[in-house]
């Protein structure tokens, strides 16, 4: 019995062991204090929450329409730019809803102009179409909103605070803003979960995700569902954009950073909301850990010009994962019928 469980879940168990080892390994080095370790861990979790947010948008769209939305990053940038520039003209409480309206309009346009004509095309063609959308949005956003670096002021103090001094030697340095961000993100996820579980639209969305044709046959309008999904994805992008923007400043690189969401969904499984969240956290933590603890070792061993392994770590992790378990942690196995 036990043997069977191991055989069946072998890959997952292996990965778990590896991750655990990764988490424990830093302690081999005496110089790592528990406080610093927790600090890094928390930092990773914070970043992970943001990855999760973007990944969530990804997973939503993929689940509902089978589109691998490469433009999610561009949507984040676009939303962030919109909020930042609108906030120059009006208070933030007005800028964010207005930006939301813009995102919904955008979602509608994308559905209308890109997805509908491409319905029933191969997944790869859709992916490339979203690449096109991504390019368009990058250019369009910067044309409309400008291409300098803008800031979003959420009014949360940015200075770090020391917490848990009593528990760890030297305390743990935490950025207050990150903390707020994490809470907002978590709240958003809960809200989304409720939306999907409790509302009629949410249930319709899930029905569409399970089976397009069946959903259509019981009278769920696919086009409207897609608009909603893209709007929700736009909303998630907006939240991610605001948080990210306030943290890093609104600039072009945001759209690239969002590419991190790809390994996240691979890890979590394309069609799984849970997967997006868990995957985001794993990647966030893994990446930080690797950068802080593995980076210096590599630099020393191979005489590198600096670490920077977080640029690829997530991808390599996802790649290895793909080879072992292509459907991801929470995805469904796919059978080809002939």
């Amino acid at each position: 019995m036990m043997k069977n469980v191991i055989k069946k879940n072998g890959p997952v168990l292996t990965l778990g062991v590896v991750l655990l080892a990764g988490l424990v390994a830093p302690f081999a080095d005496r110089s790592t204090t528990a406080g610093f370790y927790v600090e890094v861990l928390l930092g990773g979790l914070m970043a992970g929450v943001l990855y999760s947010l973007v990944a969530l948008g990804f997973a939503l769209i993929f689940k509902a329409s089978g589109v691998f939305n490469f433009a999610q990053g561009a949507m984040v940038l676009f939303a962030a730019l919109a909020v930042a520039r609108l906030a120059e003209q009006m208070p933030l409480w007005a800028a964010i809803p207005l930006a939301m309206v813009i995102m919904v309009a955008l979602a509608w346009l994308i559905e209308r102009l890109v997805l509908r004509p491409l319905v029933n095309q191969e997944a790869v063609a859709l992916l490339m179409a979203t690449l096109g959308v991504s390019y368009f949005l990058d250019g369009f956003g910067q044309t409309v909103w400008g291409s300098d670096i803008y800031s979003i002021e959420l009014g949360i103090p940015k200075e770090p605070v020391m917490i848990l001094e009593s528990l760890f030697q030297g305390g743990i340095l935490v950025n207050k803003e990150d903390f707020v961000a994490a809470i907002v993100a978590a709240a958003l996820m809960v809200a989304l979960a409720l939306f999907f579980q409790k509302t009629v639209t949410g249930r319709a969305l899930r029905a569409v995700a399970d089976d397009h044709q069946a959903a259509q046959s019981i009278g769920i309008p696919l086009n409207r569902i897609w608009v909603i999904v893209w709007s929700v994805a736009g909303f998630v992008a907006l939240v991610a954009g605001v948080i990210w923007g306030s943290k890093l400043g609104v600039q072009f690189s945001i759209s690239q950073v969002a590419l991190k969401a790809l390994p996240v969904v691979i890890l979590g499984g394309f069609t799984s909301v849970t997967g997006a969240i868990v995957g985001g956290l794993i990647i966030g933590v893994g990446e930080k850990m690797a950068e802080v603890f593995l980076g210096p070792v590599l630099v020393k061993a191979f005489d590198l010009a600096g670490g920077g392994i977080e640029n690829w770590f997530a991808y390599m992790l996802a790649l290895l994962f793909l080879l072992v378990r292509p459907e991801g942690l929470f995805g469904e196995k796919h059978i080809d019928r002939v």
């Binding site: 690449l131 010009a305 392994i309």
Partner: protein
């Protein structure tokens, strides 16, 4: 309209299977080649060579490489600039460390190294398809970016991480003027196009297309997925490796880290989408388009009296590329090459519509 095909019949398979079976096409091609080799060098300015023709020729080569993989074998890659990088750095190091090697040998070796790396990153394609594979190739992109930026050996411990190339010596012919570079690249491109054409019309090409069109059926008729996909990755990376080396040595001369970044990969992808997936001719069209459009965007508004800033031009470029990708995917998924083919077919059937 210009086609007079009566009497052009084939009495053996060799002539039936030749590359350009129609006499008029052969004549057109001959004229084009004569023009490219014997007229262009005398009438075109250095500026056009350097900013248009040379990048066009090299990008075409890279686009052919990517097209073999994506357009013919159906394996998506969003990270093909990585293999250009491998080619460029391999060539740099080969020239640096074995100076007596002929540049042609260097090119081939650089291509082979890129092919080996390409096969390595192609291995996931055996288990995963489509979207998932895109991620694997992105991994290649980011990993290679990092590798060449951070591992000092590759850049010969250059301070800034940027590298400078030696002049190109081909059996004593120093290829350094724009015209010489153009002729050299043109010759190479023609050879590589012929090779690619030969591959896609041989059984290896049919294996690739079979994998692309219907992988289960392909396997059932005895095609080994491993072989088909990995050869596609290898050949494709080989082409991109050679193109990368040429891009570094012939076009740039000196380059910094991230010269072969994600943007280059995406541009390659756009070239084959706009030009035409699964068409060698499309690679030419796509590359020409990608090279010409930014220049047009920079020049035309000025000529029309509404000058725009460089930043604006670049944003416009992004928007136009983006919109065109979507446009082509929706309206003509086979790109400019299909439009060309349709136009040609129309001319053959003229005055009839079909």
């Amino acid at each position: 309209m210009f086609y007079r095909e009566n009497g052009q019949f084939k009495s053996n398979y060799a002539s039936d299977q030749q590359m350009l079976p129609i006499l008029q096409d052969r004549a057109f091609m001959l004229g084009l080649l004569t023009f490219a080799f014997a007229v262009v060098p005398f009438v075109v300015s250095d500026y056009v060579f350097l900013s248009l023709l040379i990048p066009f020729l090299i990008l075409t080569l890279a686009a052919i490489g990517l097209n073999l993989l994506v357009g013919y074998c159906g394996q998506i890659s969003i990270g093909h600039a990585a293999f250009m990088a491998v080619g460029a750095y391999s060539a740099y190091n080969l020239v640096l460390r074995i100076p007596q090697l002929n540049f042609l040998v260097v090119l081939v070796l650089a291509g082979l190294i890129a092919a080996a790396v390409g096969m390595l990153f192609g291995i996931p394609s055996l288990r995963i398809k489509g979207l998932y594979l895109a991620v694997a190739t992105l991994a290649a992109q980011f990993f290679m970016d990092w590798l060449f930026a951070r591992v000092k050996w590759f850049t010969n411990y250059a301070h800034s991480g940027s590298v400078q190339t030696a002049p190109i010596d081909l059996f004593g012919w120093i290829v350094d003027t724009p015209v010489e570079k153009y002729l050299f690249l043109l010759g190479l491109l023609i050879v590589f196009t012929l090779i690619a054409k030969n591959l896609v019309r041989s059984h290896i090409g049919r294996e690739w297309m079979a994998m692309r069109d219907m992988d289960v059926a392909a396997e059932v008729i005895g095609i080994r997925p491993v072989y088909a996909k990995l050869t596609a990755f290898a050949v494709s990376s080989f082409y991109c490796g050679v193109a990368g080396a040429l891009w570094g040595f012939v076009h740039l001369g000196a380059w910094e880290p991230l010269a072969f970044g994600l943007t280059v990969s995406l541009n390659l992808l756009f070239m084959i989408i706009i030009g035409g997936m699964g068409s060698l001719l499309g690679s030419y069209f796509g590359a020409a388009f990608i090279v010409v459009l930014p220049i047009l965007l920079n020049q035309v508004p000025g000529l029309l009296g509404v000058p725009i800033s460089t930043a604006m031009a670049s944003h416009l470029e992004f928007m136009i590329f983006g919109a065109l990708i979507v446009f082509f995917l929706i309206v003509e998924p086979h790109g400019l090459a299909r439009l060309w083919a349709i136009g040609k077919e129309k001319l053959r059937l003229w005055p009839f519509p079909h």
